[in-house]
Symmetry: C2
Subunit: 418 residues, 2 copies
Amino acid sequence: MSTRDLILEMARKAVEAKSHLRSLGRTQKDMALKEMAELLWQERDFLFSENQKDIESAKREGLPLPMIGRLRMDEKVLRSMVDGILEVASLPDPVGEITRMWRRPNGLLVGRMRIPLGVIGFIYESRPNVTVDAASLCLKSGNAVILKGGSEAIHSNLALEKVISKALEKAQVPKGAIQVIPTTDREAVEVLLGLDEYIDLIIPRGGEGLIRFVAENSKIPVLKHYKGVCHVYVDEFADLEMAYEICMNAKVQRPEVCNAMETLLVHRAVAEEFLPEMIKRYRKKGVEIRGCEETRAIVPDVVPATEEDWSTEYLDLILSVKVVKNLKEALAHIERYGSKHTDTIVTKDHKRAMRFLEGVDSSVVLVNASTRFNDGFQLGLGAEIGISTTKLHAFGPMGLEELTTTKFVVFGDGQLRE
Amino acid sequence: MSTRDLILEMARKAVEAKSHLRSLGRTQKDMALKEMAELLWQERDFLFSENQKDIESAKREGLPLPMIGRLRMDEKVLRSMVDGILEVASLPDPVGEITRMWRRPNGLLVGRMRIPLGVIGFIYESRPNVTVDAASLCLKSGNAVILKGGSEAIHSNLALEKVISKALEKAQVPKGAIQVIPTTDREAVEVLLGLDEYIDLIIPRGGEGLIRFVAENSKIPVLKHYKGVCHVYVDEFADLEMAYEICMNAKVQRPEVCNAMETLLVHRAVAEEFLPEMIKRYRKKGVEIRGCEETRAIVPDVVPATEEDWSTEYLDLILSVKVVKNLKEALAHIERYGSKHTDTIVTKDHKRAMRFLEGVDSSVVLVNASTRFNDGFQLGLGAEIGISTTKLHAFGPMGLEELTTTKFVVFGDGQLRE
């Protein structure tokens, strides 16, 4: 079968499954999730031996060690995958919820009911745990999903699908609900992105290259997650002890992720007191500092930041630092160089906090807390399928609700339009 | 200036205005709207004389009379445009609303705050009142808008923009907030649809041809409104007197609009009683009936419906009629031939009503009420900028809220991620 026909057949199966999934009750969905968790653990030897094939071919092809590490499935990794599924099972069902209901003057009772989106195409890189995450979140929210993982993980992903299929069958959920594309052919992605009559949403997860490719080639709406150039602004009225802690946490707790801080903005009035101590602490943790002229005047041995630094997502122990003359300049800097991801103000002043909160056009804006909290679990969504940095449909971390939409439901007793 | 440069300059102005609009308070937005209303009425002679140019050129080009009628602006049309603006001014400001707020175990207070989308491109046909509608809804929701109306209405639209600009100036709102593309060049639309770095959302409003063109050529997300193939299903347990009224209202009250009924489904158990009387009533109103075999066995002089009829949006006094053996067959018919727009069940049976409500995958699903209620005003949204028949971001009628998104706002007191 040609790649085109293969993908088309998968899309048709997903659409078939979709109508069935829409009306599945919570009991049956949770039963399927629990079957998945149980079978994945039970079949772990099979999963590990298939995973081993990916590891070996990654080694043969000389993939970097950290990448091979992320590829590996062992008991610990599988355990956390299984726990993740059980956690999704324990979350309330978003489908069928009536979010609001109101009465019209003519007696009509109008409400908005949460329903699944339909069929989701999920395109991602590397780690096989994403396969299980995405599968369980889509199932719980009543969506069918077509998964396209990285070619390095093809054996692992197909093995996971095989076990998941068995679980679906046991729970009498159609297999079209969760499918893994069985080829590493790039054409598969291109075909998938053209099937706007079958697929309702594409979610890419991975590096900027993957996301741009998907966004540019898709006829289907895409929930994009571009880079995170996150800021902490230390205000004139900041509690400096708190500022040291927040700035440290935001930069070094996990520098390689999108919600880590990349640029520190400091109000001129506190720069001389704050920066020498802060930079001293950063250096102890191995953070390289690239500063503006004013920063360098205060701490002389800092590397000069270039224009490019202000819009760079380092994903590493590097930080750009700029002294600003006031809140307004901080807001303007974030507006110009930020990526609408996550930004924090540290201040004791209520008015400044509120101005920052309202003035920053990012998906998560915080007062006196680390940027690292931009995360579906941390913010209390119960789950996370990605972070959207564009505003349509979802903005910020996406949980189960963001995999649904609402329709209007109307109860009447014979109302006519005049 | 080339068309490309012209559109690019407009987009840049819109982006500039966007940052300003985001933080405008309700008072200033409403003041600008009231200025608009006042000045449009004051400058009516200028508007009518510019409108006359469009009317004359439409006559010269031999446009159909109903189209020329829709183009015309007189005191009555202008009055209702002005009233529309004042109504928008009286609506609550969606921006800044915190839709929910919750406390996390670590003390973080997390909420979702409504914010504008940014810059909206609005592409539409014919009627100049849409220019004013879209302008006032976008302004109220804090978005900048670039308007591209039909070439037949170019003089009217530019005249409206001229007056609107004066009003914006008086209210100290940047002119980039509301701009009309001053050319009828088709290239303008193509350029506009490619500016995904400047424009956040495209809303097309008009015939299916326009909407398909926009959807296929846009790099920017599009809120689509495809055709409305709306159904009324008269159940075995319907109150037949109510059914006659609802079916009549849904079909003939305004047959040319998208929420009018196009297909009537009747449960077999009541078909013999219901159809002869219903069809008799329809014929009195000049409705042409196209029926399935069973319908024709009951009412012999009905034209046979072809396969094509089931998916046709007549927008006219034509109705296709099908007898179904049960609710399940009705649901399957709507799933296959419907357009996810609006569908109604007429029944006295609670279980059937709820099964229909949950089983139909359309933007508005009604029990015992006319399909004609799929409308932002009728459902209580206070306004309507269009109806979305795709699920992402908005599904069904779109009011002010649908022109916004939410960001997460987080209040902490030094929380760090562990």
